[in-house]
């Protein structure tokens, strides 16, 4: 602006109305905003009773089937979009045929599966044993670094062979008595799927197919017309996500959603919720390598200091059960004879005192690490545990961490120079066999274990080689032995999930619901569709 006197009258008019300019911009914003908001209003037409509306806690990072052991992915993908060969009945632990009609152990290292015929993928391609072989190969043997690979197979390599369109053989490196269970985690995709990169939107044989995924907004599914099994009740389904439990509950109460996952008892209307055991167990993992936690009296004292009933009633809405071991009832190897450590403050205090008298530095500060959002009321539970531990004479501080930080504490290599750590963990045994727990949490060099004993390692290895009743008994023994002589864990509770369910729909959640929500099992509450 060089001249002090503007040379043209127009310019003055142009700049004389910043308010007007502001208004114009605002109007433009408003209209464009409405345009965005309305862009999928057609799809949103949801209250018609023909779309099943599900609200999740977070948006799935991907829908790649080989990542479906990630809870956020699996809850959408598994048994809705894609299906495995075999599925595990969550309550009994029994294996049911799905895309495989039968299976048998044909040689010590080989299993043979009979493949269902007459099944087609959502893209119209027929499903054969070759697709099954391809899918297993892709998930387990490829360079995709699939989550399911690490989760159920470790570094084991499988040899897969489609003998005929209806017959598949899988050969393991060493005898694997629970291979069918492991394979229940592998979702089947057509052989045309990329092996170079993970897919964002998968194609499967499931009852629903993905019609659209609006990033950040919603995922829409439509009924698969060619589905081989019973057609699901709802022609369409839509997933949205809200991270706040109160908002999810409000959506159910308001009728904006039919199903909401992971509600918490404080904000949910009890009329619209169903509690179910979710196979998760919370416990404090005590780092036995650091004083004062290296003294078993201190570890046992912590077990006795925890007021499980108080915590469950006051903080968990009475939904959980006191725990005495890392696996809940129903999992192979659960020890029915173990009772939760008694809540005895005086005795616990005496134990700590005894240890202190023996020179254990009980006043060294213990860090209680917990993860934000692990379950509803986590910070209150952490505070209660801190208080209860402090009450028996220990010095405890709380560190609330995010997932990444918590993982650093949880996984080997464990962080150094952080002093004694009591890590609040929540373990979910999705597979239903204690072997998945012991190999991670109890073996002395287990990825999520801080220490152990040779004897315990030996017992675990022995149990893992067994099958049937003997296996159950051996693992039960392992769990009892750990409580008695190792005491790495101070258990809190076997948790139960809370599912929001609108009165309009009928659905019975089971222990697998958090990882795998079968939309085909959901129906309208009353007979007769509106």
């Amino acid at each position: 602006m060089k001249s002090s006197v503007p040379s043209s009258p127009r310019r003055e008019r142009g700049r004389a109305h910043p308010v007007l300019a502001l208004l114009t911009t605002g109007t433009m914003l408003l209209t464009s905003a409405c345009a965005v908001a309305n862009s999928d209003a057609g799809d949103a037409g949801s209250a018609d009773g023909r779309t099943l509306r599900v609200v999740l806690t977070q948006e799935p990072p991907t829908l790649e089937p080989c990542e479906s052991s990630l809870t956020a992915t699996g809850v959408v993908v598994r048994s809705n979009i894609t299906e495995p060969l075999v599925e595990r009945e969550p309550t009994s632990g029994k294996l049911d045929p799905l895309l495989a009609t039968g299976w048998r152990h044909t040689s010590p290292r080989t299993w043979t599966f009979d493949i269902r015929s007459g099944v087609t993928f959502q893209n119209g391609q027929p499903f054969t044993a070759e697709d099954a072989a391809f899918s297993i190969d892709r998930a387990v043997n490829s360079d995709l670094a699939c989550n399911v690979d690490g989760y159920v197979f470790g570094d084991e390599k499988l040899e897969v062979d489609a003998v005929s369109p209806t017959r598949l053989t899988v050969t393991t490196e060493k005898t694997d008595p629970i291979l069918p269970l492991r394979l229940s985690f592998v979702e089947i995709v057509p052989r045309t799927t990329s092996t170079e990169a993970k897919v964002r939107i998968p194609i499967g044989t499931g009852p629903y197919a993905v019609t659209s995924w609006q990033t950040g907004v919603s995922i829409s599914l439509a009924r698969n017309a060619n589905y081989w099994g019973k057609a699901p009740a709802y022609p369409r389904a839509r997933y949205v996500w809200r991270s706040d439990a109160g908002v999810r509950a409000a959506m159910i109460d308001k009728g904006e959603a039919d199903i909401a996952t992971a509600l918490d008892h404080t904000s949910a209307d009890t009329g619209n919720t169903v509690a179910y055991p979710n196979n998760e167990t919370t416990a404090l993992r005590l780092d036995g390598r650091e004083a004062p936690l290296d003294d078993i009296r201190v570890r046992k004292a912590i077990g006795m200091a925890v007021d499980r009933k108080g915590i469950i009633d006051a903080l968990l809405g009475g939904l959980a059960k006191p725990a005495a071991q890392l696996v809940p009832p129903g999992v192979v190897g659960h020890n029915d004879d173990l009772a939760p450590a008694p809540y005895r403050v005086a005795a616990a205090r005496a134990l700590v005192k005894q240890a202190a008298d023996d020179g254990v530095p009980v006043h060294r500060q213990i860090t209680l690490v917990a993860r934000n959002g692990m379950f509803a009321g986590i910070s209150e539970v952490a505070e209660a545990l801190q208080y209860e531990m402090a009450r028996v004479g220990l010095n405890v501080r709380i560190r609330m961490a995010d997932t990444a930080t918590h993982l650093q504490y949880q996984l080997r290599p464990l962080p150094r120079d952080v002093g004694p750590v009591a890590l609040l963990i929540m373990h979910g045994n999705q597979a239903g066999d204690a072997a998945f727990t012991t190999s991670q949490y109890l073996v002395s060099d287990g990825p999520q274990s801080t220490f152990g004993t040779k004897e315990l390692d030996r017992r675990i290895a022995a149990a893992d080689a067994l099958s049937g009743k003997a296996r159950e008994k051996a693992f039960a023994g392992v769990l009892g032995y750990q409580n008695e002589t190792v005491a790495q864990y101070a258990y809190v509770a076997h948790m139960r999930g809370l599912l929001g369910l609108s009165p309009k729909v009928r659905y019975r959640p089971d222990s697998a619901t958090g990882d795998e929500m079968r939309l085909a099992e959901v129906g309208p509450a009353k007979a007769g569709r509106r």
Binding site: S4, V5, P6, P9, E12
Partner: protein, 337 residues
């Protein structure tokens, strides 16, 4: 009738501005004080009245209360202000607004702050026409340019688009005057219109004011502390001290024969009255704080004639000749001296 009212000069109809017994209270952190106490005067069309006094004597406050522009801390508590016969103090807000501009107008002293810094001056000059005449933007702008020409702004059409900070002090004062006379008001109050200006410019502005007054036959109230200006420009003068009128009358008479010691003191302090070789006489002391005005005569503390009576009884403004009055117990003595 309050004694403060001047006897109306012979003539027909109402005076253009007639103020009677005007009282203004001012709230300060330490309490309420009376800033203007029973002030009265009148002006006819074509005549100029000067309100003379030291700063803080209440003359500006008087002007603001006539124009209805007092700050919220000040409040008119008595008296009447008649403009062309209507008592504006009894009017409602919108009634008052109708008069502001076409009937009664005011020129402020600091032209820089009195002009809106973010509006082109042309628009500010056009505003009276837009408000009172309902003119279109374009017609009002033409009028503004005319006005600018009249008050002597060079290149008015171009300069109408400029902003106040782009003008010199004298030009700004011209603009302000132009704005005030835009609608040919009956009464124009000029509140120290030349204080902030150079001496040469002062003369130009005063000349402009006089010309406009003659041209438009306005009653002019000139508020000033400058005796020379009063002597040259005004017909009548009202001398104020600490919120009170101490002397009024035609300028020539008052200045030649002051009947109040304060007026006399003021006149003596002007260099041209001084005698070479003698120290310049000044009115000793300073005016009282408004919160500590004494009970008797307001001027007693500085008055060379003060006596016991002055501390007890406040002198009324009494007639001391044809169309003259003064508020002093000893005005006769002063005249004789």
């Amino acid at each position: 009738m309050t004694p403060s009212t001047l006897p109306a000069p012979a003539g027909t109809g109402h005076p253009a501005l007639e103020v009677e017994g005007l009282c203004v209270d001012l709230r300060t952190p330490s309490g309420t004080v009376r800033a203007v106490n029973g002030v009265g005067f009148q002006v006819r069309k074509g005549r100029t009245l000067a309100l003379l006094g030291e700063s803080g004597c209440g003359k500006s406050m008087t002007a603001l209360s006539i124009a209805g522009l007092l700050d919220p801390t000040a409040e008119v508590t008595g008296g009447s202000v008649k403009v062309s016969g209507t008592d504006v103090l009894r009017l409602g807000r919108s009634g008052r607004r109708k008069l502001a501009g076409p009937v009664l107008s005011i020129v402020f002293q600091d032209a820089l702050t009195a002009l809106n810094p973010v509006q082109p001056v042309g628009r500010q000059l056009a505003e009276p026409f837009r408000i009172h005449r309902g003119m279109s933007r374009r017609a009002a702008r033409e009028k503004a340019v005319e006005l600018m020409t009249r008050v002597g702004i060079p290149e008015p059409r171009l300069r109408a688009r400029a902003y106040p900070h782009q003008f010199s002090g004298g030009m700004r004062q011209r603009l302000l005057i132009a704005m005030a006379v835009a609608l040919d008001p009956d009464v124009l109050i000029a509140d120290e219109p030349t204080t902030a200006l150079d001496v040469t410019v002062q003369a130009q502005i005063m000349r402009l004011l006089r010309d406009l007054q003659t041209e438009r036959d306005m009653a002019l109230v000139l508020i000033t502390h400058d005796l020379a200006v009063v002597a040259q420009r005004a017909d009548d003068v009202v001398v104020m001290y600490a919120g009170n009128v101490v002397e009024t009358g035609p300028v020539a008479e008052v200045f030649s024969r002051p009947r109040h010691p304060y007026t006399k003191g003021l006149l003596d302090s002007v260099p041209e009255h001084a005698v070479r070789g003698r120290p310049l006489p000044a009115v000793p002391g300073s005016p009282p704080e408004l919160s500590a005005v004494p009970a008797g005569c307001v001027f007693q503390a500085r008055c060379p004639l003060a006596q016991e009576r002055c501390a007890q009884e406040r002198p009324r403004l009494t007639s001391v000749g044809a169309s003259r009055s003064a508020a002093c117990h000893f005005s006769e003595e002063l005249d004789r001296a």
